[in-house]
């Protein structure tokens, strides 16, 4: 082990002792897209003991521009991302155990996968799953590292139960209309920058160098040359339902989840989001048309033609019908690609 990790052991923040700790740790990575593949590659190269990756998607051509690990062959084979990631990680470091899960990160699945892990890495593409991660993290007292990016912009925050505010303290409610990589685009350097921050924090946690953990919320824009780190102690909410004195872990409860249902006798799925609020359909229409989507709307709903034969109809309250599919997971993916 010494030769392989010699340069990491030379780094005083880790050392021999830190490397031994890292090699016994188990990390759960939620998502195997750009952030998931990148985080997994760094951690596996660093010599962690075990990594579990969950993802519901397969590798597509438009992923290759920013999602490391994946190759043209994975696209040709339409490999599930979790499987493709596992394959490439094994070639990079055969000593690390990699467990791949293909499927939706529902609260049940997440709670199950999280038991026994030392750290959760956020690499998902929507706030609903992040709020579930946040509740599971608080319930099981396991730290997680938020990371997200769109365009040239990105952010990261390390959440340690009992020590830092949690995501529910910061947001109080799930943002209903967020920019996603499918509406705002994404460049690979922004992905790399989030990965750099997430994995640095991860190595501190895995090497148990707790004092050096970043306490600030980092956000940056690489195209506009901005970088800020915010002090977060004022964000702690002692009445927070996820991390306060009387937690109820609201996002693990059934009524707060996105409801998906295949509409009877039709090739259509209905999605009712957990977030409540009102969407500006006008603004969404402008944004999507400028991206080349064909849209048609009225004050009550917006209809958008998607790639392939699907069409999504979005109502003001965030409810949507995805026409052209009966696949619940596929419908949810489409929904979150457009609405975040």
């Amino acid at each position: 082990m010494n030769e392989r990790y010699s340069r990491q052991i030379l780094f005083p923040g880790i050392g021999k002792e830190g490397q031994e700790k890292i090699s016994g740790k188990h990390v759960l990575i939620i998502g195997a897209g750009a952030l998931g593949a990148g985080n997994a590659e760094v951690l596996v190269r660093s010599g962690i003991g075990k990594v579990t990756i969950i993802d519901r998607d397969y590798v597509e051509e438009s992923n290759l521009q920013r999602q490391q690990l994946y190759t043209e062959e994975d696209v040709a084979e339409k490999l599930p991302k979790a499987v493709a990631a596992k394959k490439h990680l094994a070639m990079i470091n055969s000593a690390v155990k990699v467990q791949a899960h293909i499927g939706d990160a529902t609260p049940e699945v997440l709670e199950d996968l999280t038991r026994g892990v030392d750290l959760i890495m956020d690499a998902t593409d929507n706030f609903e799953t992040r709020m579930v991660i946040n509740d599971v993290s608080q319930k099981l007292q396991i730290p997680w590292i938020y990371g997200a990016c769109v365009g040239s912009f990105g952010m990261s925050f390390t959440i340690v139960p009992g020590k830092t505010p949690c995501l529910n303290c910061l947001l109080r409610t799930i943002p209903l209309q967020g920019l996603t990589c499918d509406t705002g685009g994404i460049i690979s350097p922004a992905v790399q920058m989030v990965i750099a921050h997430q994995t640095a924090e991860a190595l501190k946690i895995l090497a148990e160098d707790w004092d050096t953990l970043r306490k600030t919320f980092v956000s940056f824009d690489l195209w506009r040359n901005q970088y800020t780190s915010l002090k977060m102690s004022k964000a702690i909410n002692k009445d927070c339902l996820s991390c306060g004195s009387n937690p109820t872990y609201p996002y693990l409860e059934h009524e707060n989840r996105t409801k998906t249902a295949v509409l009877c006798g039709r090739d259509t799925v209905q999605i009712r989001p957990s977030a409540s609020g009102e969407i500006s359909l006008e603004q969404l229409a402008r944004q999507l048309s400028s991206l080349g989507y064909k849209t048609k709307g009225n004050p009550y709903l917006l209809s958008v033609e998607l790639e392939g034969r699907e069409r999504i109809v979005i109502f003001k309250d965030g409810r949507a019908l995805i026409h052209g599919t009966k696949d619940l997971t596929r419908a949810k993916t489409v929904y979150q690609k457009i609405l975040g």
Partner: protein, 77 residues
């Protein structure tokens, strides 16, 4: 006067990185409401606010000379 900084798509909506505005005596929520009107910003209720590089709640009062930054959480990954 107060310097107000906009990040990510808020910057695009406003058309510039920062504006000078007199917000002393306003709460964060009041400033958000004011800006939403002037610049036709997307909904600001979940936008994170910082006063002088420190996270601020919606009911926090803005002082003369404070620098305010609005950072929209993003979901991509």
């Amino acid at each position: 006067m107060n310097k107000v900084l906009f990040f990510a798509h808020l910057r695009d909506a406003v058309g510039k990185e920062s504006v000078m505005i007199d917000a002393a005596g306003n709460t964060v929520a009041e400033l958000k409401a004011k800006l939403t009107k002037v610049y036709k910003l997307p909904k600001m209720d979940v936008v994170m606010t910082a006063i002088n590089e420190e996270f601020a709640q919606n009911d926090e009062m803005i002082q003369e000379g404070d620098t305010i930054a609005f950072i929209p959480p993003v979901s991509g990954g």
